[in-house]
């Protein structure tokens, strides 16, 4: 029976005491932020990974003549510089292989020698390295294209860390909002809580009713917020698609690139935050009763 079912789920009348859209609305707003942060973290991580792989050789040095002695001298100078973590001459065969699409297979062309170096610190200025190298090996040219990529990757990594911080903050604020709502519910149902307590209800019973109600309200709000975030996320993913998946960019790829498991976890996590906060708040409140 409807009435019977209503009682057994709601002996404290919490559906009426904890009604309205304020709590779900606030949680929805925070879930939206959480969804953006999750997607931001994931997107930043993908960009950083991809860029970092491309930046394996952060700085390259070209020598006009590929003489062994010259390469040795340049390697010696580079390895002596404090900023340089590693310097390695590129295998001429590999170089020829890399350049073949542009130069054709002719072996007669004189290829420059290329040395890959990794800097100890991405913020070191490669121009200084180049100047000091050119002093002892005339004609050496330093290319620092990889460095920008490395700096972008570092930026992406900090954005990712920032997203996690935002996520933790959002969860904390959500817990605080639920705690305030729980206290309001306790104030509205104070008499009922005291009557049930007096009739011999355990703390776990009373706290469980509140926790379930607030957990459901939070999960409902989180679901709405996450759904509301989807269009914006798809748009952003569409913009980022060319950077991450070069094959095909566009709406289809964008939907596929959304972090679905993480997004799907937002409402259950909101339920857990609401449930646990309500449990703790009600149990602490009940301690004032004997």
């Amino acid at each position: 029976m409807a009435r019977r079912a209503r009682y057994s789920r709601d002996p404290l009348g919490l559906r009426r005491a904890l009604a309205g859209w304020l709590l779900p609305g606030l949680v929805a707003a925070m879930a939206l932020l959480a969804a953006l942060a999750v997607a931001g973290a994931q997107g930043a991580a993908a960009l950083a990974d991809r860029w970092q792989r491309g930046a394996a050789a952060a700085v390259t040095v070209q020598l006009p003549e590929a003489e062994a002695a010259q390469i040795e001298r340049a390697l010696g100078v580079l390895r002596g510089l404090p900023e340089v973590a590693e310097a390695r001459a590129m295998d001429p065969a590999r170089l020829a292989e890399l350049l073949r699409p542009w130069l054709g297979g002719s072996a007669g062309l004189p290829l420059p020698a290329v040395i890959e170096i990794r800097l100890r610190d991405a913020r070191a200025d490669p121009v200084l390295v180049g100047d000091r190298l050119a002093a002892s090996v005339p004609g050496a040219v330093v290319e620092a294209h990889g460095l920008w990529v490395q700096r972008l990757a570092a930026l992406a990594r900090s954005l990712q860390a920032l997203s996690w911080v935002i996520l933790v903050l959002v969860a904390g604020v959500a817990a605080a909002v639920v705690a305030v709502a729980t206290r309001a519910g306790l104030a509205a149902r104070r008499d009922a809580v005291e009557v049930l307590h007096g009739l011999g209800a355990q703390d776990s019973y009373i706290a469980g009713r509140f926790a379930r109600r607030l957990g459901l309200l939070a999960a409902g709000g989180a679901l709405l917020g996450t759904l509301a975030a989807l269009p914006a996320l798809a748009l952003l993913a569409g913009l980022a698609a060319p950077w991450i998946a070069d094959e095909q960019a566009g709406a289809v790829a964008a939907w596929g690139m959304l972090p679905w498991p993480a997004l799907a976890a937002v409402p259950p996590l909101a339920f857990l935050v609401g449930w646990a906060t309500a449990q703790a708040t009600v149990r602490r409140w009940l301690r004032r009763l004997p």
């Binding site: 009435r3 002996p11 049930l196 007096g198 009739l199 011999g200 209800a201 004997p290």
Partner: protein, 242 residues
């Protein structure tokens, strides 16, 4: 069954010195009530009747001394030990304490549901209880739609539905006319005859005279016991008489 031993009770004081304790509302209360007894708790307004009853149904713990109810020593019992004992006690409050957002039926069914009784078996019991207090027609009403006397009968029905071992009633006849008050008292005596220990606080002297029973007199928070008639020794005699 119930034993008070040099019990003192202070309420937390309000006013300018929050957190301090007020004066002793009860001092040096010592008595024992045997299982199956019926006892009047008498005294002027403010004497401490409700306070004694609150200690009996574990709504308060004594500030000093020891209270033993249904085998539980309340003063130092762990908090989790109290709810199971509360479920063996029925209470009629001076102000009823019905839940306004539940129907009369659900209010009366509350103790059974808290005890975990199945819905199917509890419906007949609740209907029977509502018939007993003459309110079966109002089962689906809200308590707010009932008169004071009707609310009091619902409060009594809720207190006895789960056949408690101890029944504690605070001025249960306050809102009833004389005829209904007598009928209620007859019901309480009947419960007592069936084995429930009953304690009733009242200052309705006419009613007390009509249903004579052992009495505890309270005066300004102390047991007023000039000829030691209601001390522990006196109770052993009553026990044998019963």
């Amino acid at each position: 069954m119930i034993r008070f031993e040099a019990v003192g009770l202070r309420y937390p004081g309000g006013g300018p010195h929050r957190g301090a304790w007020g004066p002793e509302a009860l001092s040096d209360i010592t008595f024992a009530l045997p299982r199956g007894s019926f006892t009047w708790l008498l005294g002027a307004s403010g004497a401490g009747k409700s306070s004694v009853l609150r200690l009996m149904h574990l709504a308060l713990r004594p500030t000093r001394g020891e209270v033993e109810v249904l085998g539980l020593r309340v003063a130092r019992a762990p908090r989790a030990a109290l709810p199971p004992v509360r479920r063996r006690i029925g209470v009629v409050f001076q102000d009823f304490r019905l839940l306004p957002y539940l129907s009369v039926f659900d209010n009366v069914a509350l103790p059974l549901r808290l005890a975990g009784r199945a819905e199917a078996s509890l419906r007949a019991d609740v209907a029977e209880m509502l018939r007993w207090v003459g309110l079966e027609a109002k089962a689906q009403s809200s308590p707010l739609e009932l008169s004071g006397g009707e609310q009091q009968r619902i409060a009594i029905a809720r207190a006895v539905i789960h056949r408690p071992e101890l029944l504690v009633a605070d001025e249960p006849t306050g809102n009833l006319d004389t005829r209904q008050a007598r009928r209620l008292l007859a019901l309480l005596r009947e419960m007592n005859r069936l084995g429930t220990t009953v304690v009733v606080a009242s200052h309705d002297e006419e009613l007390v005279a009509r249903f004579p029973a052992p009495s505890l007199f309270l005066h300004e928070g102390r047991l007023h016991d000039p000829d030691n008639a209601r001390g522990l020794d006196g109770w052993a005699e009553d026990d044998e008489l019963a």
